[in-house]
Symmetry: C7
Subunit: 250 residues, 7 copies
């Protein structure tokens, strides 16, 4: 009986309050985020690091097609966790907002402004009927007035600013690792290392260059740059995250 009532509970379309003041559809959308592989963002004085677990389902799938980190403007990148198709909608929305800002004001959009544009859009899907919430969390990182900024958006449409944060699978383990190892004086290089070691927690402390995306936005250049496979491999080796036996014969 429990099952049936539960079944009915989430089976109507509109996001409304439960007697204890919660929005069930939003909380279920958070579960969709947890079902996605992890993404990590780290803010260092030298810039932002975004890293994302993108283990492929099949050796025949192109690793590049599992996009978890997206260039949103020259100075902004977004990493996602959760429902992939929903992420694409929000990232396209963010790109259009960044373009509009450049056209209208002749300058790059602020990271906080961009984040709040996105969260306002997300909030609408939790209040007005006829659609479900977005099943995805985003990390929006970039440089604003020379300073690195890192934001998270969640399915309720709340923006949070972080020094370092993880979204998606195993969040509590990864976040605990970040809290224990993050310091405010990290170099960008050290930030990449910490990000990869954090991601590796979901992968038995092993990573391959094809299984992870890494991007940075440096404070000085203000340019979003995706690391090449070779660069990632070097970081993996430096951080002792190589798989025990990584042979083609396997």
């Amino acid at each position: 009986m429990q099952g049936q009532a539960q079944q009915q509970a989430y089976d109507r379309g509109i996001t409304i309050f439960s007697p204890d003041g919660r929005l069930y559809q939003v909380e279920y959308a958070r579960e969709a985020v947890k079902r996605g592989t992890a993404s990590v963002g780290i803010r260092t004085p030298d810039g932002i690091v975004l890293a994302a677990d993108k283990r492929s389902r099949s050796p025949l799938m192109e690793p590049t097609s599992v996009e978890k980190i997206h260039k949103t403007d020259d100075h902004v990148g977004i990493a996602s966790a959760g429902h992939v198709a929903d992420a694409r909608q929000l990232i396209d929305f963010a790109r259009r907002q960044a373009q509009v800002n450049r056209l209208r004001y002749g300058e790059p959009v602020g990271i906080e402004t961009l984040t709040k544009n996105v969260t306002d859009n997300i909030q609408q899907y939790t209040q007005v009927g006829g659609a479900r919430p977005f099943g995805v969390a985003l990390l929006i990182g970039g440089i604003e007035d020379g300073s690195p900024r890192l934001y998270e958006t969640d399915p309720s449409g709340t923006p949070y600013e972080w020094k370092a944060v993880s979204i998606g699978a195993d969040r509590s383990d990864l976040q605990e690792h970040l809290e224990e190892n993050y310091t405010e004086e990290l170099s960008l290089d050290e930030g990449v290392g910490l990000a990869l070691r954090t991601i590796a927690i979901s992968n038995d402390d092993e990573l391959t260059a094809a299984g992870v995306d890494v991007a940075t936005v440096a404070s000085d250049t203000e340019e979003f740059i995706e690391l090449t496979n070779d660069e990632i491999s070097a970081y993996i080796a430096d951080n002792d995250l190589e798989p025990a036996e990584e042979t083609d014969s396997e």
Copy 2:
């Protein structure tokens, strides 16, 4: 069986009357307010004090990103409790109303007028179908014709004017503390002190500057000012609200 019926009861989209004349969705939205950390507003002859509890979930989260007090116009601030993303919608609405008033009449919007614009907007979401009510309460404080005014809005869309009021978690305890300690002759400084001591009730009578937002709108300047961390720390020390052991090694 009880559970199932209950489940169904709040699971439809429109806000309608129960047989005893109550609006369940509005009452559930009030529960969402109670789930938020507390905000306090105090009116003194010298101006308005707004204070908000903003305990962070994680040491890596930027305390400034948990916005609980928002400048709405030069002479108005709004503190919120409840669903954060909903609060943002209403505060944006209030800002636009304040701007429109300046453009149309060439003068700052009245605090009562602004509040009623906001509550009329809230009421619509409780009567017309296709959306849920707002899960947030606001404290709207500012100076109108030289006099400090402090209003509360609740999820039903009712405006209340207060001398001193708290919204969010532990409301009855905090409000009782205000009733016992408020006098109409408080200085603005004393008002800040009372506000912090009230907020501290939810925190075992301890506060950190990073864990609380404070803002004032003075009657003479008519300017919304957010206190700096140092200023807040001084008030915390003055009011003996410092944590027993506040050391970095902890």
Copy 3:
């Protein structure tokens, strides 16, 4: 089982007929009216008296913010009972109608005309889907062509004209008191006294000036006037309605 069916019964959005020809949502809205504190209207040859119980929930709440009587035009006032936010919508509607009438015809709107504009608006919310009925009753009083007129609107959208009437809590007791004590030859002063003694029935026959609103529209001046606290206090004293012990030390 009874409970579940009942729960479902009022949980759908549209106002429709029950098998015995009743409109449940309208009847539940009447319950919302009963949950509100009482308002009383009295018609005398010299003018209209409106009085409303506005007991505050807290000593820190500004009594003036609990608005139960509203000036609607120079010659019209409206008192309400029930859902406060709904009342505001209808009173704003009435004000706009009164303004439109002045603009279009160059003369004050008739009280009956105004009332029927309001009740037609209320009726729409009971017949067309997508919204709930208004959970409020109004007393609309004013002067039309030199004669005092007093109307009630209920949640069904039916207008009634009265010599003296009460709405809200304890209606049957208050109405009985009115029937026993009303005479057509009351002076306006006597009308205020009767109104206050009637309101006091809900308050153990005690009233404070802060706990009640009183307004009049005199037949000769045709002006809506709210009584000051001092004036109300005098009436309270004259009618022996003062609290047994009204001391600040309490």
Copy 4:
């Protein structure tokens, strides 16, 4: 179980067919008509008589505010039974139709034409979703080309033409009385008498002038005229319908 199913049956918004080809919402709306006090219409060669029971709920209510008979155009009156607020909508609709007819064709609208405009409007509310049917029946009486015509509209939107008819409470008793006493040669005076005696059946064969509305549209003048209280009192006396003891001391 029966109760629950029934409850659900009428609890959805759209008017649709039951398995035996009936429209439940329309039949429930007919129950709303039966809950209203009775109205009677009588056609004589000399004109139309409309009479309506308007017992007041309270001695303080203005009898004139319980409007059951409405002048619709110079030559047409409408009496109603059932949901008062719904009746107002239809009567306003009829008035606009009559005005439009005068403007467009320069002549008074025909009674049959007017009735069918009204019933077409009623029918729409029984077929198209998003609204409930009208819970009211009307008697539309007037003079068309010198001849008196009397129509009934019911909640299904069906027009009926009658020599004499009653709607509302106790219809079968009142209609039986009309069938036994109506003759086609009644004078208008005799028609008023029959109408009052019929109405009186719902009132233990007693009537007061304040408790009944009477109007006529004479064939020669083609003017809708409401009888004064004195005129009605005379008819009541002539027909021995005075209350046994009508004393103020009662």
Copy 5:
């Protein structure tokens, strides 16, 4: 349990397929047709006969107000069975179509064309949501290019052409009587007789002129003509359908 499921089945608004491929709302609308008194149409070489049972509910009701046969254009008449208010909608629709045809093409609309305009309109109400099907069947009879044509429309929106057909109450009995007695060489007079004898089956083989409508559209004149009471009485007498004792004392 059966009852409850059934109850729910017809209680939703949209007309959709049952597992065995039937449209329940359409079949329930057919029941509404069966609840109506019978109408009969007969095609003879000399023209169309339409006849309709219109037994009155009360001796005070004007027989002419129970309209079952309607002139639709000079050369077309429509008889109905079922929900009267629905019939009016379709007949008004047909009249507008006939007018439009005359305006656009300068000639009378074809009977088949007119019928299919009507059935296309009916079909829309069975496929698109937000409204219920029409609860009425029509007989559309007239002259097209000198030839008599007789069509039936049913609630599904299917057109049928007939030599002779009955709709409404007791259809199978009446249709059987038509099949046994119809021949293609009937004169128009004989057609009227057969129609009346068929209608009489629902009335214990007795008819009164006031209780039946008869109209013809002759092939030569192409004019819709309603028979007078006297003409109908003559046919009733000729066909031995007079009530056994038709006395006023009864």
Copy 6:
């Protein structure tokens, strides 16, 4: 219980997926097709044959009014099985598409193009809410660039091209007969014979000219032609499909 759940299952308006990936409303619409009498289409090198069973419900019904085969353009015919009123909608849609094609491109529409226009229209009714699917299958046959083409549309909106196919009642039996007897070298005459013998399977191997429609579109003339009753009778005789005793006295 099974019954109730089932009942509810088809009782909501929107066509959505079941857990095993089926669209129930579409499958129920296929049942509506099976409830219709059969239609057969056969493609021969010399042209298309369409034949349809149209047994009448009554001897008084005009056989021609049961339209199962419709000329859609000079070179295209459509036969249907299932819900008759739905078929009319689709055939009107196809006719308009064919006309538009002639107007826009100055040439007859291609049979495949026309079919896909129709199936795209059908598909929309299976995906977008607010309407039910079409309860009809069509056979669309004609000549395109000198070659005969024969298509089927089903309620899901899928187009199929056939050499020979049956739709409606007893499909599996009729299709089996076609598979056993069809050869690609049939003359148009032989095609008509095979079509009639196939239709006859549903009729105990007996047919009357009035009970069947036959039409052809020859490859050389590219003209849709309906066979006369005499022509059909000759084919029936040639194929030994005459009823055992076809006498008027029966």
Copy 7:
């Protein structure tokens, strides 16, 4: 009970989250894909191979009418698995997008761009109410800037890029076969062979030319080409996939 709850679960129209963060309607749409016969795509350095199982239901059905591979632009082809009518909608959408790209930018659309246009369209049907998701998966293959690209779209609207992939029935078996046999150095010819051998797994390792569609887009010509029956037969023979006994007498 399980069954009933399940039944209700998928029986509402909007795609929303379950408590564990899944979208049931999307998952059920994936079941619709599995119900379709398989399609296979293979990327070789020399171009793209698309192959599709299109076993016919009947020997009388034109094999060409079961379209599983569609030319979308000169340089792009799309193979589908699942609901055929839904596939047509998406392929038409893709064709229009490709045309618009040529018109707007004067160059062929990129394969990734085209895919993401399609998946964005698919995603909308999973988030916004009033329609169901598409029950189909697509393989979009073509040449972009001289390089072959192969994408899959699924019912959630997620794009994946593959070296080799199968969709539809028996996916896990077919995909396993691809993983074991695919190498990056395949020639286009070898790619066709691998595709056919993979498709044959669903068919007991037997294929006929009529039962399979094959198309290629070569890297040098950038032209979509469908293989003829003879060419397919040769490939079938070369790969020993001919049916054991393929005789007409069978």
